[in-house]
Subunit: 238 residues, 2 copies
DNA sequence: CGAACAGTTGATCAGGATCAACTCGAGTGG
DNA sequence: CCACTCGAGTTGATCCTGATCAACTGTTCG
């Protein structure tokens, strides 16, 4: 399953055989994380970052009084903790499900930067894509209704899982509670429930248990003003 | 004034003499941008990114129906358009004041990555810091009141300008209209006005014309739950 | 002098928060 | 096997933050 990591990188640009094997070699011994555990703790530095191989995690920050903001949900192939490693502080990353992760040690990472700048640039693009995602989310919180935000988030999740090959047909595994959604969208739990009902009632989605089912993809996209992200590396790294 | 760029890089880690001069050499011929002009246009790719040398710019995205979300305000030393160059799409960047910018061409950028990985890593940190900033902003929009958000934003602006050596005493140049603030914070213009009045009335700030004056820094920080960002590169790049 | 834009004020409205109660499984222990 | 708990989801009633609408002031600038 380190394939997920390679696939994710290759979404942003092609790799040579050598780069691919170098990238795989970056990964340290895989480790199991149990559901609910924290992979990264807010504010703490780390000497390595983590590549998610299996399971789902989410990034969030909890304020003093308990209010929580969730920033993103992640699937296999995603890298978390780059900020903890390179900047020395990060937000908390918690396991939504039991997970498998593999570390990339700082020293190996620096070697990559020195010996395989193309590979480093690709990883950089992952960070830039994260920025784009956060901006999109910010636009939602600032300028869209609760209903639109929810639709947009569900589109994002489904599109990302599809890209990672995790969606089968029109459904994917998305084991969140309504409280998670509320904290991702800046809503109250109660209102989250009502917005979900509206989406269900309009026949756009189903969200039961730990499963998200898309019943009307164009409709959901329209409701969330969601635009599919396209792989459009401008002048592919040479 | 390319010094601002170097100073910004050095905030995230020290540079050798050689790196410093290489970084300066990255910059192409400086260019003047008039107030209100767009440096980067949403969605368009670019073959270069821009280093802001003088003036202020802001990033934003405007939706179909005219609603606008402002993501960040920038000061000299900041780099914009990395996404346009490396990912092939970006949000719009507009000049708040008349500006001076200098481009870094893609080819030079790739040379930097190949020959000076430490320098590239430092630039990368700029991107990661941007991520941290966006998360902070997201937390504000999702979980803080209009009053708290405004206080936080003003703290950010003042702290950033202070770091860039642009604040004198407790005041700095911040030529925005209330509409800009509204669009940055996801508020209506009217409510923005009222929140500002509240901050003024409590003796925390003054914001007149194009000048922001901080009258009670601890008070403003408390109101915005603002934490000063610290330069804490974990294990400084060796 | 008159636009045009930024800022200000008041009145009213609405989206979503909050409070509170209740349902519905899935465990868990007696 | 049933009572009990606990977490998640659901529903209704009420409240409040901040949006919207509309008018008015002040300032700059041609």
């Amino acid at each position: 399953m380190p394939d997920a990591f390679i696939a994710h990188l290759e979404f942003y640009g092609s790799l040579t055989e050598e780069e691919r094997s170098f990238a795989l070699d970056l990964l340290g011994p895989r480790r199991s994380i149990e559901q609910g555990a924290d992979l990264i703790v807010e504010g703490e530095a780390a000497s390595e970052c983590q590549v998610l191989l299996e399971g789902q995690v989410f990034r969030h920050k909890t304020l003093a009084d308990g209010r929580r903001q969730i920033f993103s949900f992640h699937v296999p192939g995603d890298v978390v903790g780059l900020e903890a490693m390179l900047l020395g502080r990060d937000c908390t990353v918690s396991a939504l499900t039991a997970c498998q992760v593999a570390p990339i040690a700082r020293a190996r990472f620096d070697q990559m930067a020195a010996q395989h700048p193309r590979l480093a640039m690709l990883t950089w693009r992952l960070s830039l894509a994260e920025i784009a995602l956060l901006r999109e989310r910010l636009t939602g919180l600032g300028r869209r209704s609760a209903y639109g935000r929810m639709a947009h988030l569900l589109c994002e999740v489904f599109a990302r899982q599809t890209r990672a090959g995790l969606a089968r047909q029109n459904r994917c595994h998305f084991p969140v509670t309504q409280a998670h959604l509320a904290d991702a969208l800046g809503l109250s739990g109660v209102h989250t429930n009502r917005v979900l009902q509206e989406l269900r009632q309009k026949g756009l989605i189903e969200l039961r248990g730990r499963e998200l089912v898309i019943l009307n993809w164009p409709g959901l996209q329209a409701a969330g003003e969601f635009e599919e992200p396209h792989r459009d590396a401008p002048d592919p790294l040479q």
